[in-house]
Symmetry: C2
């Protein structure tokens, strides 16, 4: 078998076999197949596509390119929840403790933020001491003993994916459905989850800007999960405007904790309950969504979800006192309120623009490896469909730098559009 | 400007500017743009194509990636003739001296054979001492003094092309019309020719197997030549069966000299006169094809073409006595005649199969850098349309090894097909 023949087959729109895909991925991982062949292959996939079978084969080959966690000795089932990324999306921080409190083991590896999109690890690190670099043994032990882990991908999971992603980033081959789907799913599969809930975002602040694209990605990933023997479900949720009110690392953790305590913005609360219900059904702890939702609500009401989060923070070395006293979180030096410039109905709070403005503040990173400022960000007071009066508070800017504050405030203000007519609120979920 | 944005533009089927193409080619040549970006770019071009303007810009950028010869101080006009490659194609060896004898300066850089297709340099090296590694100064001096040069590409002409071709070869991006056309034309342009005749072969023994493909390549190259300010014409000629009778290095040179002496197979003779007439018109020495053909015929009749070839060989260090005494050429140890196995009309002499059989004999090379045996090859006695009787001589095998002889003879015999019905001869030219 020769790499060039596999490239040529894909170039000519022929179907690749599992053996050919395995050969290519293994060769690429161990360095036998050079980058210049892999990038030509990626471009051929980008332009000619891959069938669902090929995509599943690619996913499995990438999952097997490194260690594949077997957690069956630790727990009977492990659930993972993945969000395709967005602005103000702190869902995992609330939902994972909720379902863990319902007796469903959670073993989740998250990523960092990049560009306008935040990352769960950056958010959790707002709590001093919280470790995101657990070893495999620590991961297993904590899963067994606490039933919840929220860490980074410190083990060598799916190394082919990391190598491939770096190459795609510089060769114009990022926005390929089969490559995106396999990149996400190979890590979930290698991470040992046997029940997976995918929260695919769509809209102005999502990687998939249109509903058809998001639907295509979602069904492709569900198909991969099914072929890999993982119980997988996907939700399509809105990311035209930020989710909830808080955008920024510590601000989002505070909001996620509020929610676990029974508070938080209504849209975020509803989003979390809906996701949690799905997770509980996929994880075989609830027989249907109604039961799942009731269980999730109960975990808030009886304090067990908050208790689970406290246990998680403590287990991973974080200062658990932050969970019960949000005044302990580092705060920004300057907090300024922006007011509505006119009367009307909010017709848009452009999620991506708000996300980019938060990068200006230092909450996100322009490129990999940049540090983030945990304290800064926004609190969005008004959402699409809300009626506002001129001069009413629209949002807060939390900043550590005056010039950045001014720039971010201006950008966030431009992200808001107003209408004289009534505007219906955005749905939380599409499907 | 960033390489990845240029790749993305081509991936998205947008038109690249001359500046973007120049940036990419220059960066690739000097190593700023790595191979993995160039191969992704090549695959995007392969699958999405390039407009004629983009293709011409690519050609000029590659031509300018190294030295571009300016021969205007040496001669008023320089002609080059390029064949897209085939079996038994020794046309340059006859035509170049003919037109040079008519007062048209010839400065041609040829290549070596690869696979089933022979190369002019290998053929000329059948004459001991013949140098194909002239320096730029030697090239210019000989052009000025002798009016004819037939050498290899020893200078650093179009280095981007050599680098790109090596990459295309291993990334499945060889058969792309814009990449093929620009690869051929950039070397012609860098070589200083201002009049170019392209002999594009089509058929079983050509890289372009179908007439529409050959026509597309031809018109693309003519368009590039026009945009680059070079007087360019393309002919489409047959390569279903070998051209002439001889296939193999020394055998072909002997046939080319025979032709210059007024002999040689009728098809080869006619092919050469037709090509020479076009070259003389493009090179502004003849006002039309009729005059060009008469001049070419005259150069044979008055011995001036042969004299020009003698001068060429001597100028490049070759033993000119070979030109006048073909018994001096190295001969193969074994010469065996294959006879017609049946009565009938020849319906096919598969050019590629004959070419591959000659590689078996050692006349060609399976991979770059392999040595060639100048003495071995075939003499094809019967061509498509000829009637044969069982037992009549069909072809000769010239070999230096008994086992190779048997294998090559068998393969060449299979290349011949017979019909009970009359078969019309193949045309020499299509357009």
């Amino acid at each position: 078998m020769r790499a060039v023949d596999i490239i040529i087959k894909k170039r000519d729109k022929q179907q690749l076999t599992a053996e050919e895909i395995e050969f290519f991925v293994r060769g690429f991982t161990n360095g036998d197949i050079p980058d210049y062949q892999a990038s030509a292959f990626a471009m051929a996939i980008m332009l000619n596509g891959m069938s669902p079978v090929e995509t599943a084969d690619l996913t499995l080959a990438m999952a097997r390119s490194g260690q594949v966690l077997d957690l069956s000795k630790e727990v009977d089932i492990v659930v993972d929840k993945h969000s395709s990324g967005g602005v103000g999306d702190k869902t995992s921080i609330s939902v994972m403790p909720m379902v863990a409190a319902c007796g469903l083991p959670v073993g989740k590896m998250s990523g960092r933020g990049l560009g306008f999109s935040g990352g769960t690890l950056d958010k959790l690190e707002s709590i001093p001491g919280y470790r995101v670099d657990l070893s495999t043994d620590e991961f297993k032990k904590q899963l067994r003993e606490k039933g919840i882990v929220l860490t980074g991908q410190s083990m060598d999971l799916a190394p082919a994916d990391g190598k491939m992603y770096a190459l795609r980033d510089v060769t114009g081959t990022v926005p390929s459905m089969p490559l995106i789907a396999s990149s996400i799913m190979c890590k979930k599969i290698a991470g040992g989850a046997n029940a997976i809930v995918l929260d695919v975002k769509t809209g102005l602040g999502a990687f998939m800007q249109t509903l058809p694209e998001a639907r295509e990605l979602a069904s492709l990933m569900v198909d991969i999960g099914r072929r890999a023997g993982r119980n997988t479900v996907a939700l399509l949720s809105d990311m035209n405007q930020p989710l909830g009110a808080a955008v920024g690392n510590a601000l989002e953790v505070i909001e996620a904790i509020d929610m676990l305590r029974g508070g938080g913005p209504a849209d975020y609360r509803e989003h979390c309950l809906h996701v949690a219900a799905h997770v509980l059904v996929v994880g075989q702890r609830a027989k249907d969504l109604n039961e799942g939702r009731a269980m999730a609500e109960n975990s808030i009401a009886d304090g067990s979800a908050l208790e689970k989060f406290r246990a998680l923070v403590a287990a991973q070395g974080g200062d658990a006192s932050y969970v019960d006293d949000n005044s302990r979180f580092e705060r920004a030096k300057y907090v300024e309120v922006a007011h509505a410039p006119r009367n009307g109905f909010i017709s848009q709070v452009h999620a991506r623009s708000v996300g980019e403005a938060s990068v200006v503040l230092g909450a996100g990173r322009a490129k990999k490896g940049d540090p983030v400022d945990h304290a800064v960000g926004f609190i969005i007071h008004k959402k699409v469909g809300d009626e506002v009066r001129e001069g009413e508070p629209l949002f807060e800017v939390h900043a550590n730098d005056r010039a950045k504050l001014a720039a971010a405030r201006k950008a966030a203000l431009s992200a808001h559009l107003f209408s004289d007519e009534f505007v219906p609120p955005l749905p939380l979920f599409y499907e």
